[in-house]
């Protein structure tokens, strides 16, 4: 297998679109429940925790991009083979593919759960899953440029929701925020760790990278995207802290949607219905990119057609929906993916890039030694 991937010139996309791709794939179902999850760990300083998490992810991103820059135009599958050799490298790739399918699965499952709780209690899971999976498959068949387009539309089309988030400030009690930084550093970091589910997604840069036209600029746009996501998450968390009493925030499963309950438009009593429907647009790029990146492994690792991979993973995910019946099972799976996500997204890329950097340094030194002698 080639380490570097050289797609045709025509399907490359501009580097600035990386902003939409990375931000689009980071914000998804995670952010709806984020304030509560962080609050459980970091209490009223949760918003600081989110900022800390943002800084950490930004460091991880720096590692990832620096690693990718060592190669001409490689993706994670190629790097695996280059670093670990054919067998170990490909096995690691397959594990990473499974993790991505898992993410794909929990994204739409969590969304369906929200729809079932908020709008249609009698809706069967498989019905909405079928529609969502078909939609994703359709987009993935369009190729990477279509997926980038979906990400762009999703980010631009849902930006206005941010404005609505100001409405709950009418009921804010800012005394909840004080005293600032009253929580231990350990709790702060624990809170930062719990943001994984809503921060993850940026790891997909390792798969999209070969398709970026101006690769030198990718660092800038990826970092901007991550900053924006961090800002957004911290803002939402901050509003939740001042809007809810501590104990009720602990008990609210989707604080962001619960906050939207107080928004009222003149001819629409319940804004959260619109918010829940629009959330489908927010999660769509997540689903597309995860499915695309996972199925890409079929052509790169297993030497099959990518289309086969798309169908295999789609059917696998659809079949798995029938095994999840209750909320506690869903929680278990989500926790599992979030936990493995922490290792797959934060720890592993840093580890890998250190290996790559050491390896590059080593070969360079050996080469120069060879020349010198």
């Amino acid at each position: 297998m080639n380490v570097n991937l050289h797609p045709k010139e025509g399907i490359l996309f501009s580097a600035y679109l990386l902003f939409f791709v990375i931000h689009g794939v980071q914000t998804g179902v995670g952010i709806v429940g984020l304030p509560r999850i962080v609050f459980l760990e970091a209490k009223h300083d949760a918003w600081i925790s989110v900022l800390v998490a943002g800084v950490l992810t930004s460091i991880v991103l720096w590692f990832i991009i620096t690693m990718l820059k060592q190669y001409d135009s490689a993706d994670l599958y190629g790097i695996h083979v280059d670093v670990f050799g054919k067998w170990v490298g490909n096995s690691l790739s397959i594990i990473y593919m499974l993790y991505m399918v898992g993410s794909f699965f929990i994204i739409f499952m969590n969304y369906i759960e929200i729809v079932q709780v908020w709008i249609f209690p009698n809706l069967a899971t498989w019905q909405l899953a079928l529609v969502l999976i078909f939609l994703t498959v359709y987009a993935v068949f369009g190729g990477i440029r279509i997926i980038v387009g979906v990400a762009f539309l999703s980010v631009v089309g849902t930006m206005w929701i941010l404005v609505v988030a100001f409405v709950p400030l009418r009921y804010a009690d800012f005394s909840h925020l004080f005293p600032i930084m009253n929580i231990g550093f350990g709790e702060l970091l624990k809170g930062a760790k719990s943001t994984t589910l809503s921060m993850m997604g940026f790891e997909l840069i390792m798969f999209v990278y070969p398709y970026v036209r101006e690769k030198k600029k990718s660092m800038k746009y990826v970092q901007i995207a991550n900053m924006y996501t961090t800002f957004l998450s911290a803002f939402v968390t901050l509003i939740s802290i001042v809007f809810f009493a501590g104990d009720s925030l602990k008990a609210t499963i989707w604080p962001v949607l619960s906050m939207f309950k107080i928004v009222r438009l003149p001819n629409l009593e319940r804004f959260e219905f619109i918010a829940v429907s629009f959330w489908m647009l927010i999660i769509l790029p997540n689903m597309c990119l995860y499915l695309w990146a996972a199925s890409k492994g079929f052509s790169r690792v297993l030497k099959r057609k990518q289309k086969t991979g798309v169908w295999v993973f789609a059917i696998l995910a659809f079949g798995a929906t029938f095994f999840i019946q209750a909320r506690y099972q869903m929680n278990m799976v989500t926790d599992l993916v979030a936990k493995s996500g922490f290792y797959a997204v934060i720890c592993y890329p840093v580890f890998l890039s250190i290996i790559v950097l050491v390896k590059k340094w080593w070969t360079k030194r050996r080469n120069s030694h060879a020349k010198a002698s």
Binding site: K43, L128, F141, D173, K261, E272
Partner: protein, 384 residues
């Protein structure tokens, strides 16, 4: 080939959307009974009596509202029982107002309010109220005289008073927030039957989820000054007439001397209340209230031409307000309720572990207050 494949997928997608659309529950307006108000009474131990006002959209029906009363143990079981008595499906999406009887509120509302929270179809802006005696009698008032259905009527009654700054907003969200906050307690308006209508007779003070006291409507102004930080409506202040002798215009109406009280009505345009913890050890709080107000009415012709006189009135008003606010704070302390959020202020200023509600109540007993009011009369109307 590629193209045909794509078309196939599009067709499958469209087919899915079309066929699956009918799978979700449909709700036709004509087949629904919209609950606009709910009342809960304590029937006996472990049993509650629920009453709902249902608004129908049947074009043929004459009586568009219907009141159903049943008894059960939980509020959702009540709904089932109520559903047995009506030809349309009961839904709660348009619920506007929930009334709890005082008897029930004395024993705790958290279970019933929790049922409202758990249900995603119920909005967060539903008003919660307490009935002075029982909720049933309020729900059962003669509705033929009302132009709108009872739920909307009660909703407008409260909303109008909230908007004209007479009442603190009693939405479900605020009740929850204050109930769960460790340093704050909720308040709800009390509804009372008056003739053929309903009136707001005051606010109920909650300690946790139980009612422990009441604040009559004439004291609401001060509570509002402390509670809401923006505006607090109109208020009438009574003074000893003899104190104002120097600025009362003598218009030869000596007979007025018989009244020994002078009343001044002011309208509050802006207010800002700040609670500050000055001494943590002694638990001394300073409450600073800054108000801008208009003089609306005085029972005696006052000479308002000179600045000195206005300053004099301001000073008098400040003093009166200070003593009233202090009384109110002491009253809250005696009742062990904290609707203003003094506890939150305390916790925001202490870098120790956050207090639990119980710990705060222990501390609250020893709290001391220092009140400062700075009232500015900015306008005196169109005449001097």
């Amino acid at each position: 080939m590629q193209r045909r494949h794509k078309w196939k997928l599009i067709m499958v997608n469209i087919a899915c959307v079309l066929t699956l659309c009918s799978c979700v529950e449909t709700k036709q307006l004509e087949k629904l009974g919209l609950i606009t108000a709910q009342g809960y009474d304590l029937e006996k131990e472990n049993e509650i009596k629920g009453t709902v006002v249902v608004h129908k959209f049947d074009p043929l029906a004459e009586n568009l509202t219907k009141v159903i009363t049943v008894k059960s143990h939980t509020s959702k079981a009540l709904r089932q029982e109520q559903n047995l008595e009506i030809d349309q499906k009961l839904v709660t999406g348009q619920l506007r107002c929930v009334i709890y009887s005082k008897e029930l509120a004395k024993r705790g509302l958290s279970q019933l309010v929790d049922a409202l929270n758990r249900d995603p179809t119920i909005g967060n802006m539903v008003y919660l109220t307490v009935a002075d005696d029982d909720a049933l009698s309020i729900v059962n008032i003669d509705q033929s005289k009302l132009k709108v259905n009872l739920g909307t009527y009660l909703y407008n009654l409260i909303k109008q008073n909230v908007e004209s700054e007479q009442l603190t907003s009693p939405t479900l969200h605020e009740f929850n927030h204050n109930l769960q906050d460790h340093g704050k307690d909720p308040v709800l308006p009390i509804l009372k039957l008056k003739g053929e209508g309903v009136t707001i007779s005051g606010i109920a003070l909650f300690k946790g989820d139980r009612i422990v006291g009441e604040l009559p409507s004439n004291k609401l102004f001060y509570a509002k000054v402390l509670y809401d930080k923006y505006k607090s409506g109109t208020h009438e202040l009574g003074f000893n007439r003899s104190h104002f002798k120097q600025i009362i215009k003598n218009q030869g109406r000596e007979n007025k001397e018989v009244y020994d009280r002078l009343f001044i009505s002011i309208d509050n345009i802006r207010s800002h209340a700040k609670i500050k913890l000055i001494d943590k050890e002694k638990l001394l709080f300073r409450v600073e209230v800054t108000l801008d107000s208009r003089l609306l009415e005085a029972t005696e012709p006052l000479d308002l031409t000179s600045t000195k006189n206005i300053k004099f009135i301001e000073k008098k008003i400040n003093k009166e307000m200070e003593s009233q606010i202090k009384q109110l704070l002491e009253f809250f302390k005696k009742k062990q309720v904290d609707p203003i959020g003094i506890g939150n202020e305390y916790m925001a200023n202490s870098r120790e572990k956050p207090l639990s509600k119980k710990e705060w109540r222990e501390l609250y007993k020893d709290a001391k207050f220092e009140v400062r009011v700075d009232n500015t009369i900015v306008k005196t109307g169109v005449i001097d």
